[in-house]
Amino acid sequence: MRNRLATQPLFELSKPGRRGTQLPPCDVPQRDVAELLPTEAQAAALPPLPEIAEPEVIRHFTNLSTLNMSVDTHFYPLGSCTMKYNPKRNERLASLPGIVDLHPYQPESTLQGMLRLLCELQEILAEISGLPAVSLQPAAGAHGELTALMVAGAHFRELGESRTKVLAPDSAHGTNPASARMAGFDSVMVKSSESGLVDIGDLRSKLDEQAAVFMITNPNTLGLFDQQVNEIADLVHQVGGLIYLDGANMNAIMGITRPGDFGADMMHFNPHKTFSGPHGGGGPGAGPICVRDALGAYLPTPVVERDGNQFRLADNRPRSIGRVRSFFGNVGVLVRAYCYILSHGSDGLRRVSENAVLNANYLLSRVRHILPVPHGHRCMHEFVATADDLKKRTGVTAMDLGKRLLDYGFHAPTVYFPLTVPECLMIEPTETESKETLDAFAEALFRITEETPELLHETPHSTFTSRPDEVAAARKPRLKWSRPDTEEKPKH
């Protein structure tokens, strides 16, 4: 049974004077804080920290940790997010004392092992991407996008050009237009064709000498590889623009094709999607970027350079856009990526992508008999089904299906993204799932579509909380905890 007492907020469990430890009396003379600190350094009152005994703290966090779904507990087909299983070996290796006990202020001569690891990771990512110049600094995929667009901006400034537009298809991740605006460009949306690929006519009409970068996700968010990508790259290059590849979907093409070979000039990797970095939770993350040689001079400094058997952090790069992250980015995530890549090897990485695509196609072949999959009977690593007909017929929405899956012990797929497909469910099984798991998921989805709308509208029934009121949460958010006895009415 659930212990609902233990999972109340710690502040509400607090009782004055309760402690987790009892310390022996202090054996040195005590002095009053007021004697030791000047008045301006003293707070008016002690901070209201919760006062709780150890078992309550342990029960609080242990119970909370069981309320969530995770890749370690459930199948998690969250399309676009590539929630694949992270092998525990990488966690163990990344926790070795020789790695976690390093300090970035140590002399370089004592950091040679880490610098070698990072340098080799740069070389490996260059090989996988087909783009030779690498920066490991960005702290997330979207940060990589921003960094690369700043690199593009520096490139055009040096050419004496003031290009204003960054284009992206309407199926793009929301980070693409956001990064464009943050980097100082106008964001221009390019339509998708009926088949879900870039509408070449619309792209042509929006390409001119103001076009700086076209951002493309390939395979795209519908799980389709856009085979027009060479033609797209030619069109963009003809007007002097650059191609940015959003590497969110690299899990589908590793070792099979390389962005640098199909026309991309810049890209990022998402190690948490592709190379077993920790998934989500707000970080830490990493978003290494790879660019063509001609753009390498603008990459953030420092970069790791190899000089024979010696490695150093080089910042003698006058054309660099400068540093984008403190120290050297989130090295712990990069270490996991390095371990993942080396333990698979080049053949293994290719098999990862082949199995990710195979699993997605197998699941697609089952799901399409349950819900329409509008963009064909083949996909890359993920596919998009729609509950639009179901909603029109019965009122059951994609959200209802997603919520009900939780009751069946599966995490929901991504819903309502991409925006180009109504009532969509974006399903990405990843390479680490067995046929039995995929069959069980398809079976559960089928059974759910046979259930009554009344039941489905009120799901989930088995989770700690059922449906949050998303509308009230967005309209009248309560962003701050306050003591129940002094509770203020939420402001809106």
Partner: protein, 131 residues
């Protein structure tokens, strides 16, 4: 307003133009179809009166639990009135998009700025294709 007598943008705004003396005043809102597609609204950002905008310019945005959508002006002109109560009463927009849920009024700058608007039937056809 009677939706059958309004003109529409492809981007789902409606406009009604009335003569007030020598001036033409355009009232602008969003269609029932747009409201249905957006689902539950949570936030709305509106412009200040006095701004000059051209047909096709973004004049505000509306956010639902699903997405943020820009609002585009069907006509060119000066914004003379804004339905300021709307952001705090989003249900009004959901329940009465052609009446109390109007969004802005503009003093139309010239007739030629009306641009390629759709009549009710053409707009219905577009919605049927999209929906």
């Amino acid at each position: 307003m009677n939706p059958e007598e309004l003109l529409y943008c492809e981007t789902h705004e409606w406009v009604s133009i009335s003569d007030q003396g020598p001036d033409k005043i355009a009232t602008v809102g969003i269609s029932q179809f747009a409201v249905d597609q957006l689902t539950d609204l949570v936030f709305m950002e509106l412009p200040e009166p006095g701004a000059e905008i051209s047909a096709g310019d973004e004049f505000g945005e509306v956010e639902s639990v699903k997405a943020v959508s820009s609002l585009y002006s069907p006509v060119s002109g000066k914004i003379v009135e804004v339905n300021r109560d709307l952001p705090d009463n989003l249900d009004t927009l959901s329940e009465d998009p052609y009446g109390a849920g109007w969004i802005i009024r503009l003093l139309v700058s010239d007739d030629s700025s009306l641009g390629p608007l759709l009549d009710f039937q053409a707009y219905q056809k577009q919605c049927a294709e999209e929906g």
